[in-house]
């Protein structure tokens, strides 16, 4: 096992781009090599050691046995865990945009909140957020027709707008509320929202979206029946029929009349 702990040396408003901060990128490196890693602070190319204090516990290890701990406010640090394939990242505070984008394996645990584009186009692995998540969780990039394809994202707080846009696979669960248009153009992913949201499943063709709280249903969803899931009664709709969609929208019955 190897644990690498990073602590910010100062707080920045200008964002840091740190796509190299993954178990894949750090597992095999010596401290000196880590210190010399390239990062970007705005338009300045800089080195890891100029922005973060590094503490390493354990020898170089396989990716799967490597944990990166982010201790402090990383809300301005973008792309952490981008394309990671294994191992673990634990953020004790907030984490910036694009965390876990394109990741294919491993775990990211965020004790604070996550920025926008969390798990964008992820393929596998899991992300767990104890606080809130920003906009476009598990979505695609601009112009992409396929967002998240696999893995799972759990947000215990609230999520922003356009949750899981263009999701093609994998699952997202939000315990709190989600902003407008969750699961837009869903092409095969599973989304569940514990709280309220607005206009879920626009242009979805496949997959499933369930909403525990209040919501507004788009015109293109057709009521099918009522189903029991884990002790709750849900109204089941199919849609979005503007796209001849065969997606499933489940609305918890108890909440809808409230």
């Amino acid at each position: 096992m190897r644990t690498i702990t990073l602590r910010p040396l100062a707080s920045h408003l200008v964002p840091i781009e740190a796509e190299g901060l993954t178990p894949d990128g750090l597992a095999k490196l010596s401290i000196e090599e880590m210190e010399a890693l390239d990062l970007w602070l705005g338009n300045r190319r800089t080195r890891l050691c100029e922005l973060f204090a590094i503490e390493v516990d354990g020898k170089p290890a396989p990716i799967e046995e490597t944990t990166v701990i982010l201790d402090g406010d990383f809300s301005r640090v973008k792309r952490i865990g981008e394309r990671m394939s294994g191992g673990m990242i634990q953020s004790l505070g907030d984490l910036g945009m694009h965390a876990g984008a394109g990741m294919s394996g491993g775990n990211i645990l965020i004790k604070g909140s996550a920025g926008d584009w969390l798990g964008r186009e992820m393929r596998g692995g899991s992300i767990e957020v104890e606080g809130d998540a920003g906009n476009y969780v598990g979505s695609g990039y601009r112009g992409e027709r396929c967002g998240m394809r696999g893995g799972s994202i759990l947000v215990r707080g609230n999520a922003g707008v356009f949750l899981g846009e263009h999701i093609c696979g994998g699952s997202i669960h939000v315990s709190g509320n989600a902003g407008d248009y969750p699961g837009a153009a869903n092409g095969g992913g599973t989304i569940s929202i514990g709280g309220d949201t607005h206009l879920p499943g626009a242009e979805m063709t496949k997959g499933s979206i369930s909403v525990g709280g209040r919501t507004t249903v788009l015109p293109g969803f057709q009521f099918q029946d009522e189903v029991e899931l884990e002790g709750l009664t849900y109204q089941r709709y199919v849609g979005d029929l503007v796209e001849n969609g065969k997606g499933e929208l489940l609305l918890a019955l108890a909440q809808q009349s409230a």
Partner: protein, 563 residues
């Protein structure tokens, strides 16, 4: 500059693999020269590459870029050395277009279609492309004035309009896309065949093509008409192709060149009655070309993977978008044209795409004379131009084709003859298809060869044609053509080992054709009326102003030149 000791292929001058020196003085090939020496011993030396049909600038390109940020991200290269940043794969930014062509050894590229009224945009983008010499072909095939002149059977007036339209657009030649179809698409329909009258105009596509070809020769334009057939992209359309070619047998070229250039023939060599029985009719087309000498073509080869289709054939793009459930952009242009842009992916597992792939290669391999077939992908319709080296390798190596076919559906062998073709093109034939023939087809006398007086555009590849057998080593060929050892433009090294070494501003060719004053006067009367009643801009704001061409080269043509 002296390029010493290379193995030179200059088929236009009958040079096929001779070890010789090439001298460049004052930007042109000369008998002798001083200056730096480039040691090209053991390397292949060719004239700079010429692409006669590629979509590199103008409204369609930007429409593609704007609707495809996903494509933009594929080709990202940061600012480095002399190079500005690059983006894109099928729809790169202008800088990337210049650098990437130059890295492959190309120095001249012609934009395949510009609508007159939006040509300012085309020239703004052409100017933004570094290094390359370029030109643009002007769209005439669904133009109201053209159709009216054809209807009135007034060839002098039509010729005057073509001359005026080339000047207004600073265009080089006459492009015709799905003639009449663009106008029909203005109300959402199309023309169904050569003899289907254009709604409201009572002329047929056949008449438009034939009269524009006559006007083209009356004006003695450097290039022939450049034709995108009706019914392009539809199963069974090879009969339209042959019928159209027959229609033009009586056209007498005014210069030493073809009477018609057919572009991206691959998309017009389709058999079958639908996509289920879709099959190659490339053998029939190649047979026609082997028996007739009035036409040339370019391949329009497809490349498996991502493409962005863009064409003035508006109804075709709508059909593509519906069939593939894809993003669709359309842009109809008042009194002149229509156009569309649709991204797509050519998939090895798709029988239709596999047959399309085979057709392009069959056309090049079954047509005996390489001077009749230019190597293109109809960039980026069949795939991006950066894949030309792959096409070269496929043409030069039967083994390479067999490797590819092994990945394709078995049905391919029933729907095409590609598997039975053993021909492997040689270095000289590739030099013809990528240099000599495109220059000749376009009528660019100083391009595509290395004779004294030719432009000092040379590409040098790190491969010795005396040592390498392309048939058994296609990977070496592909690698060599992907990155020229040197690309030389007008005597300046612009690329070396893939690094851009110089960024000259290229020239823009356009055709300045004169017509008798009385013809022009008659034309002006009808044009004036069109601007007053129908155009949404004023006539005085229509012409591309001189400010848009920093290094123009006006090629003289016109009725007087013809006489």
């Amino acid at each position: 500059m002296i390029i010493k000791g290379g193995v030179v292929y200059d088929p236009a001058n009958g040079v096929l693999g001779e070890e010789m020196d090439i001298c460049i003085d004052a930007g042109a090939v000369a008998e002798a020269a001083g200056g730096p020496t480039i040691d090209a011993r053991g390397m292949l030396v060719l004239p700079g590459g010429v692409d006669a049909h590629s979509h590199i600038a103008g409204p369609k390109l930007n429409a593609g870029r704007i609707m495809r940020p996903d494509d933009g991200r594929i080709g990202t290269e940061p600012r480095r050395g002399l190079c500005r940043p690059c983006t894109g794969y099928t729809v790169p930014n202008s800088s990337a277009i210049g650098y990437r062509y130059a890295r492959m050894g190309y120095t001249t590229v012609f934009e395949a279609a510009t609508p007159i009224i939006e040509s300012r945009h085309t020239h703004e983008e052409l100017e933004a492309i570094p290094i390359l010499d370029k030109g643009a072909l002007t769209l005439f095939g669904s133009n109201w004035t053209v159709m009216e002149c054809v209807g009135e059977k007034d060839l002098p007036k039509l010729s005057a309009y073509v001359a005026w339209g080339l000047r207004a657009s600073r265009g080089y030649g006459v492009k015709i896309v799905n003639p009449g179809g663009g106008e029909a698409w203005g109300f959402g329909s199309n023309v169904k065949g050569l003899h289907d009258p254009v709604p409201e105009f009572n002329v047929t596509p056949a008449e438009i093509i034939h009269e524009l070809a006559r006007a083209n020769e009356r004006l003695c334009l450097p290039h022939s008409i450049h034709l995108h057939f009706n019914n392009l992209g539809k199963p069974g359309n090879y009969s339209t192709a042959i019928e159209t070619l027959d229609l033009l047998k009586d056209i007498v070229p005014s210069r030493d060149r073809q009477a018609v250039h057919v572009t991206h023939m691959q998309f017009s060599a389709y058999g079958g009655t639908g996509w289920r029985d879709f099959e190659s009719k490339a053998p029939e087309i190649a047979d026609y070309y082997n028996k007739n000498d009035h036409a040339t073509m370019d391949m329009g080869q497809i490349i498996f993977g991502s493409a962005t289709t863009m064409t003035a054939d508006g109804p075709l793009e709508y059909a593509n978008a519906r069939l593939l459930h894809q993003k669709w952009s359309n842009h109809d242009i008042e009194l002149e044209e229509s156009s569309g842009v649709v991204p797509l992916v050519y998939i090895r597992g798709s029988p239709v795409n596999a047959v399309q792939w085979a057709i392009g290669l069959e056309l090049a391999l079954l047509t005996e004379d390489p001077w009749k077939v230019l190597l293109t992908t109809d960039n980026p319709n069949g795939g991006p131009f950066v894949k030309y080296p792959e096409v070269i390798a496929l043409l030069m190596s039967h083994k390479r084709r067999e490797e590819e076919m092994a990945k394709l559906p078995e049905l391919l062998s029933k729907r095409s003859v590609i598997g039975s073709i053993e021909r492997e093109l040689g270095w000289g034939e590739i030099a013809v298809m990528t240099r000599a023939a495109p220059a000749h087809v376009l009528g660019l006398k100083e391009k595509g060869h290395l004779g004294v007086g030719a432009d000092g555009d040379v590409s040098i590849y790190e491969i010795d044609p005396r040592e390498v057998d392309p048939g058994s080593d296609p990977a070496l060929v592909e690698r060599a053509f992907t990155q020229a050892k040197y690309t030389i433009k007008a005597g300046e090294v612009v690329s070396r080992d893939g690094e851009i070494a110089g960024i000259p501003q290229g020239r823009t060719f356009w055709t300045d054709a004169n017509v008798p004053e009385e013809d022009m006067a008659r034309l002006m009367a009808s044009l004036k009326e069109k601007f007053e009643k129908y155009y949404s801009i004023q006539m005085s704001n229509y012409m591309v102003q001189e400010a848009y061409l920093s290094r123009p080269v006006a090629v003289r043509a016109g009725v007087e030149v013809a006489q």
